[in-house]
């Protein structure tokens, strides 16, 4: 057993885990944060994407012990004070999801992308989410959602700045 101390969605945790436990399993099984999903066993699908220390990562490709001392943000911590993050809103408005299985990972990847590049063109969005697979949407409305969120997050846009949760990721 090894110790992990992490902050997840703003809450501190300390747990003993097997070193082989993946971060995604720690989140789902130990912390009950089942909003983060598992779609593959080869690091391809991105369904498990969360932010670790402000950067998007595939939480199936990080050991829980590697996150020791770190800060994790999951889909469950993205909305602040009951207010959805603009990316979440945009996914709803632009019908960026169908079955929803890729959605938590897509949204976390998109939030990171927009932190890195606040005004991506279509190609930049497509390349920015190439680590996330979706079988339902054909991606078109996901791309629209990300671009719509970028609009909403622009300073002076219709969405009041204080209601938009700070964007994790990027530097």
């Amino acid at each position: 057993m090894a110790q992990v101390r992490v902050t997840v969605d703003g809450v501190n945790y300390a747990d003993d885990v097997e070193p082989r436990m993946l971060l995604v399993q720690y989140l789902r099984e130990k912390l009950g944060k089942t909003g983060t999903l598992i779609g593959c066993d080869t690091s391809n699908c991105g369904a498990c994407t969360v932010h670790l220390n402000g950067r998007s990562v595939k939480s199936c490709s990080v050991l829980a012990v590697q996150a020791d001392g770190g800060e994790v943000l999951t889909i469950e911590g993205l909305a602040r004070d009951g207010e959805l993050h603009p990316v979440q809103k945009a996914f709803n408005e632009c019908h960026g999801l169908q079955c929803g299985y890729c959605t938590p990972g897509m949204i976390m990847a998109a939030v990171d992308l927009l932190g890195d590049n606040p005004d991506p063109d279509e190609n930049e969005v497509r390349e920015g989410i190439e680590g996330n697979l979706c079988r339902c949407t054909g991606y078109q409305n996901i791309v629209r959602s990300v671009q719509r969120a970028a609009q909403m997050m622009k300073p002076g846009s219709a969405v009041p700045a204080e209601s938009a949760a700070p964007v994790a990721g990027g530097n």
């Binding site: 070193p19 399993q25 050991l63 920015g128």
Partner: protein, 283 residues
């Protein structure tokens, strides 16, 4: 999905790491970004007894100017390498190639040292390190040694890093002002290179004064296309010259055959892509 059990150590210095490796014996594995190792462990294609995580060694993440070289710590993440201004200015080929590696999440975790130590012949960074004559700093029980790129890549997934040794730094000579391009050809955006060509040119007026060309996935290791380089030097950077030089692209290669590309197709791609890469680099 769940790796087999292992012990885990997280040293905070290179010395500690070397000791940990020695203590753990031959079944130990180094963990860098984990982006190649963890998928392998999850599918249980490997089951090391001990994992030595380099993640706690802050000194391995640096990117710094060191005289006429750019020194990059083995644990520098792909994302940091490709965004770094020093790298962009002096080793632009490395930033270009690193941008084509994997996806943002993987680039946030995966490291330069991990990618080079892993030495997958389809990996994108080996051809760059080879073409640019990078040096590899390797630490072990008996101190530190430096290995030139030409000796680093030994075979399929095999490098000059010995048992119990750690790659700590990769040093690139400066190619300030060189014109560079990394031309990658893959089946889907997620797939690795079927074949790729790394080109760096020093242009003098319209003509090519020096050329460095590396090939990805054309053998069991990255390959330096010296025939292409020789054919380019002294030529105008024209379509004809690029095409003529590209005819040498398959010299000394041993293209693998797989479902995406049998060797004849790979060889053909190497020629076409070399021509395109040279032209793209020349602008």
């Amino acid at each position: 999905m769940i790796p087999a059990k292992f012990d885990y150590v997280r040293p905070s210095s290179v010395e500690e790491a070397v000791t940990a490796l020695r203590d753990a014996g031959e079944d130990a594995k180094i963990l860098a970004g984990g982006q190649s190792l963890l998928p392998v462990l999850r599918l249980r294609l490997a089951a090391p007894s001990t994992i030595v995580d380099l993640g706690g060694i802050a000194e391995l993440r640096h990117i710094a100017e060191d005289g006429d070289r750019i020194a990059i710590g083995a644990m520098a993440a792909h994302h940091d390498v490709m965004r770094d201004d020093l790298v962009k200015q002096h080793v632009s080929l490395l930033s270009q190639a690193t941008e084509t590696v994997a996806d943002p999440q993987v680039r946030h975790r995966g490291t330069l040292g991990g990618a080079l130590a892993h030495a997958d012949p389809a990996g994108d960074l080996g051809a760059v390190a080879l073409a640019l004559d990078a040096e590899f700093v390797i630490a072990g029980g008996s101190g530190t040694r430096t290995v030139p790129a030409s000796e680093f890549f030994v075979d399929y997934f095999t490098t000059a890093i010995g048992e119990g040794e750690i790659l700590t730094q990769v040093r690139f000579p400066k190619y300030t002002g060189w014109s560079t391009h990394y031309e990658k050809f893959n089946r889907t955006a997620q797939a690795w290179s079927m074949c790729a060509v790394a080109v760096a040119l020093r242009l003098d007026g319209g003509s090519i004064a020096e050329a460095r060309v590396g090939l990805t996935n054309m053998g069991t290791t990255p390959i330096r296309a010296r025939g292409v380089e020789a054919a380019l030097v002294g030529q105008q950077a024209s379509e004809d010259a690029a095409r003529a030089a590209a005819e040498h692209a398959t010299e000394g290669t041993a293209a693998p055959s797989d479902a995406d590309a049998a060797s004849d197709y790979r060889e053909h791609l190497a020629r076409v892509l070399t021509g395109r890469a040279v032209l793209a680099a020349a602008g």
